[in-house]
């Protein structure tokens, strides 16, 4: 846990009493630390609790209690939405524990979807899933940018990601060989766009949102490329596109780990390693042609990587000298 004014004060007072530092110096030291600390564990477990609660609300709505008048059901949901948003705004304004406004904004981001599902349930609507998610996305479009809530931003990203496959399958968008490959490529491009656009959060001093944007962007691009050729049973050409796509994922995640170490972005390093593990295991299990060719591929890639890293290190040293 990071030191706070509360935890440091007894030590600083003791140093002042022992004449090691003056009272002004002691006050100066204390002023460099926050008054109280926010445990990341408390925040994380609170959000997990909030997720369980929201899933509970979804299931309660799904149970479809017809004994409750529909106006009362809708009223209760709108009341919960209002309370959630007010909890978020007031919690932030009054500097409550960060977990409280975060849970409020998380509910405020998800409840409009439950409200739309409830209206659909009441009137037996069986319309387009794309229209449902699009309406939800529009209703929460500005929420993460006005509230600066990381959880609302994650919900926003998830709703955006859900729009892609629904839109392509419902409107039969086949800009590439089939719907499946179109979804994969759009996911890969969307991930890159999300990761790039998330850098703008740095300007607002919001590193948590930037980290989430980068992480989800990397995951989307990696999975989009990874899945590109998985469902093609009858390839149109003899070019082994899955090997190229998986190779691209490998290089992309090597780059992510490199940037992660250089820029102290732990999330990029962790996700990069997980993706590399998946790719290496997948190559190993699927075999790029045969055991001989896969073995040669692994040997050459590994050797190339080792040579490259030592060459770069030597080059960097020579430039610095």
């Amino acid at each position: 846990m990071k030191p706070t004014q509360k935890s440091l004060r007894p030590h600083v007072n003791a140093w002042v009493e022992d004449s090691l530092i003056t009272q002004e110096q002691g006050d100066g030291i204390l002023a460099r630390y926050p008054t109280t600390s926010t445990s990341p564990a408390t925040l994380t477990f609170s959000i997990i609790g909030g997720m369980l609660c929201i899933l509970g609300v979804v299931l309660l709505v799904s149970a479809n209690w017809q004994s409750i008048p529909r106006e009362e059901k809708l009223g209760a949901l709108l009341g919960l939405l209002t309370v959630s948003t007010l909890l978020g705004t007031e919690g932030s304004r009054r500097k409550w524990h960060p977990a409280i406004p975060e849970i409020g904004y998380f509910f405020a981001a998800v409840l409009p979807l439950i409200g739309l599902a409830l209206v659909g349930q009441i009137f037996n609507l069986s319309g387009s899933g794309f229209a449902l998610i699009l309406t939800w996305f529009i209703s929460i479009f500005f929420l993460p940018f006005l509230s600066f809530s990381p959880s609302a931003f994650v919900v926003w990203l998830i709703s955006l990601s859900a729009l892609v496959p629904l839109g392509i399958t419902e409107y039969h968008g086949e800009w590439f060989s089939d719907e499946y490959q179109t979804i994969s490529i759009i996911y890969a491009l969307l991930g890159a766009l999300v990761a790039a656009a998330s850098q703008l959060w740095s300007k607002a001093g919001r590193s948590t949102q930037r980290a989430w944007g980068e992480s989800l962007g990397l995951i989307l691009t990696s999975l989009g490329l990874y899945a590109y050729d998985c469902a093609t049973y009858y390839p149109h050409s003899h070019v082994p596109s899955w090997e190229i796509a998986w190779g691209a994922v490998f290089i992309l995640n090597l780059g992510a780990i490199f940037i992660g170490y250089k820029a102290h972005r732990t999330a990029l390093v962790n996700i990069g390693f997980v993706m590399l593990g998946i790719i290496i295991l997948s190559f190993y299990c699927r075999l790029a042609g045969s055991m001989l060719s896969t073995g040669m591929l692994f040997l050459s890639a590994g050797t190339l990587l080792i040579i490259l890293i030592f060459t770069l290190r030597k080059l960097r040293k020579s430039i610095l000298q």
Binding site: A63, A117, Q121, F123, N124, T135
Partner: protein
């Protein structure tokens, strides 16, 4: 953080949901109702719960129909057959002359009208009677809304 902007968004969300509710309530209260013969299935939606998936006698495209394009909007006129209504003509443009019609979409040999789901309380969709009749409401543009199901002359599920 702009608190007042967040409150405006909240008001818009609440207004949007109430408007959506009021819009469908208005259709249900003011639209003319028609009774259709329905056949049930019983799946589950993780967001909205258990529902009975319905197929109607008007859901099958007539053999002699010239329309075959996928996902194309079509207009189906209804003609009375005893107490229920059956499929009449299928056209690419809305019919004139005050004849009741439904707007649908062609999906192969089937027509989807957006009234293929009837949400039921949890567990009630497991034993669905075979003699189901659906009471639907049609608004002027031909868009339909499923109001209630009947079995043996009484509302279902009981």
């Amino acid at each position: 953080m702009k608190t007042w902007l967040l409150r405006i968004i909240l008001m818009l969300q609440v207004f949007g949901l109430i408007s959506l509710y009021a819009y469908h309530l208005n259709i249900e209260k003011t639209g003319k109702t028609y009774l259709l013969r329905a056949e049930p299935l019983d799946p589950r939606d993780l967001l909205s719960g258990d529902y009975v998936a319905l197929q109607y006698t008007i859901s099958t495209l007539p053999d002699k129909s010239p329309i075959s394009a996928f996902n194309m909007p079509i207009y189906v006129t209804l003609q009375p057959a005893g107490t229920v209504w059956e499929i009449g003509d299928v056209n690419e443009a809305p019919p004139t002359g005050g004849v009741p019609y439904l707007k649908g979409r062609v999906l192969g040999s089937q027509i989807s009208y957006g009234i293929e789901r009837y949400y039921v309380p949890e567990g009630k969709g497991k034993q669905v009677p075979s003699d189901l009749y659906a009471e639907i409401v049609i608004q002027p543009g031909g868009t339909a809304q499923l109001k209630r199901l009947y079995s043996d002359g009484k509302p279902w599920p009981r």
